[in-house]
Symmetry: C2
Subunit: 412 residues, 2 copies
Amino acid sequence: MKTDLDAIMQDNNLDALLITGPGQHNPAMIYLTGGAHLTNADVIKKRGEPPVLFHASMERDEAANTGLALRSYNKYPLKALLEEAGGDRVVAAALRYCKMLTDFGVTEGRVAVYGKVELSNLFPILLEVQRRMPGLTLVGDPEGRVMGTAMLTKDEAEVARIRQMGRVTAQVVGQVAEFLTSKPVDADEILRNPDGSPVTIGQVKGLINLWLAERGVENPAGTIFAIGRDGGVPHSSGAPDDPIRLGTPIVFDIYPCEAGGGVFHDLTRTWCLGYAPPAVQAIYDQVRTVFNTVMRELKPGVHFGEYQKLACEMFEEMGHATILNQPDTEEGYVHGLGHGVGLRIHERPFSSTTSLPEDMLQPGAVVTIEPGLYYPERGYGVRLEDTVYLRPDGTVEVLVEYPHDLVLPMKE
Amino acid sequence: MKTDLDAIMQDNNLDALLITGPGQHNPAMIYLTGGAHLTNADVIKKRGEPPVLFHASMERDEAANTGLALRSYNKYPLKALLEEAGGDRVVAAALRYCKMLTDFGVTEGRVAVYGKVELSNLFPILLEVQRRMPGLTLVGDPEGRVMGTAMLTKDEAEVARIRQMGRVTAQVVGQVAEFLTSKPVDADEILRNPDGSPVTIGQVKGLINLWLAERGVENPAGTIFAIGRDGGVPHSSGAPDDPIRLGTPIVFDIYPCEAGGGVFHDLTRTWCLGYAPPAVQAIYDQVRTVFNTVMRELKPGVHFGEYQKLACEMFEEMGHATILNQPDTEEGYVHGLGHGVGLRIHERPFSSTTSLPEDMLQPGAVVTIEPGLYYPERGYGVRLEDTVYLRPDGTVEVLVEYPHDLVLPMKE
């Protein structure tokens, strides 16, 4: 949790964190500022001290709303910096960082840099800061061992927000089901609009965005709504012009977030409208068996990768290829069992058998469980996903309940 | 334009570009791939050669849709990389880049890195790549001298997309005007909902997001809808719970983009509902005079900063402080006149008098013109903004026409 940050910095031998970039759609920045509407900002957090937010003067009101200690960039006038830098903008930007760090007593030790930003901009500036402050060592945190470790466990307020995103997600999934099952079909089994045109994937995705916007949330990463063969390729998002046909499985994976890039929720259902072909029903039942087994076995204190291993072994037992023994298979079970969900849609803990040893399921974790089977050449894929919370008492809460049915009966 | 990229690379002594990160909401990646739905990808573009897209095997269909030359990350199996790296993930990731670069003949010279990514992840990996490939020099492009120079001029297809975003934006602005002017007011001059509750800023912003979503576009950076004093602080986005009162100026700055983070459009109006106080009308007229003068004078071949200087001089002549002579003023005219608009909401050319000498207005440029006056202590601000296209023939096209009226008469 956020309150663990100083201790985690100590464990990782870090003296300060430097977080840069916009105030929204920038997980590390949002974690410390709460998601203020800032075009560009910096946060310096020294170990054992509260964070300081650097902001444009024009954005002083938004900055003040964060409740953090503030400093305006006006204290570091660009004109003087450019003069000192001989007109070189990279040097001027680096000088500003040097002064900011120095002003807050960060002149030696290890500083981890964060922020979702333009690499072409920050990479050369950080190299120049490093050159000018040899007492500092600027490092990254590619495995999420610092902020990512704090984020591994959520406090009640954070979980409440993810649960609320889950409710919104389930409402929209329900609206999509209602929309699809209310449509008439012709003899060709294709869903039709009132004007006779086919209902398309693109149309459904547009409605999903509309129904999410009605609830005040965002969908920055899009939606997977993939039918038939496309559903057999896990990250294929679906072809906009494709019609929707009875009996053809649809993989519907939806992962919206709070406005401005706050917490996410992640849910997948596989649907066959009207009826399911026996081959699809059979692999669906297998996925559901694995899903139910994992959900039953899930408990804190076990490495997430153990459940991936369990899922792979169960699928292999059923006769499917998996990445456990065929790392580059494109058929069978081809991805990880799940991932943490928070300010990022994919964050620690990861379920890979090669993920960090620290990626234990801990009380306070919020993770997805999402086994699937993929047979693109046979024209289908199946995935089932819920987001769950490992409560402090060790029990597991499915953050939002939504029916797991494969077949959605048509209304007429 | 994109077709100039090889020549611009040559001018900047660059041998290759390395672009990394997601396929969406990542301008440099979208510029080369068109905005495919890729979770994570890399593009290597060697000078004089077409770009190559590296992608996850699961995302092969989405990758194929880009029409680029492809290579799957499966060619660089993680397990082998981790072994070679002695289990160190940063080294493994760096080794993959080294192999990718080597496979495509990029083993010496200067390589510029791009992508909107997590710094904590990429910074240490790039340092390791640099260490392992001493023949390469990894550089940034903080001033946008390469991709930014290509993007300085738009081709007809790009302009058509920005124009279309302008149409959508104007439709939504019109809906907001219609919504506001249709509301009843009490003796306190506060706009009321049918249930008697006050119409709030947050409610209007929710409707804006809904109406944008209905048109299939996104609003990742939010909307400024700031009333009274908040409108006097240029980047204050407005307090959600604030009511809306007749005669109190509203600064409404809206900048949505295509779904997935494509092109933006930028438009600002200042409105007084019902009537305008004389002091507000007076500074509004001054802003409009400056706006009209700049629009009349605007032509290619002039540095954008010249128009900023013109705006400052006009405002100072009228008795206002400006950043030309008082760089840290928080009253008067406190920001730049405009900026380029494209895959970024703010991009070159910039109108600062200290912006790049190359930031001439060229035929093909798409820029905003947005003078304003800010008096937070007096409780108001005014800004007026259109997005314009400098046509190849030297004439100026306002990309979408929308009335500039300050006062919106109430319907009843």
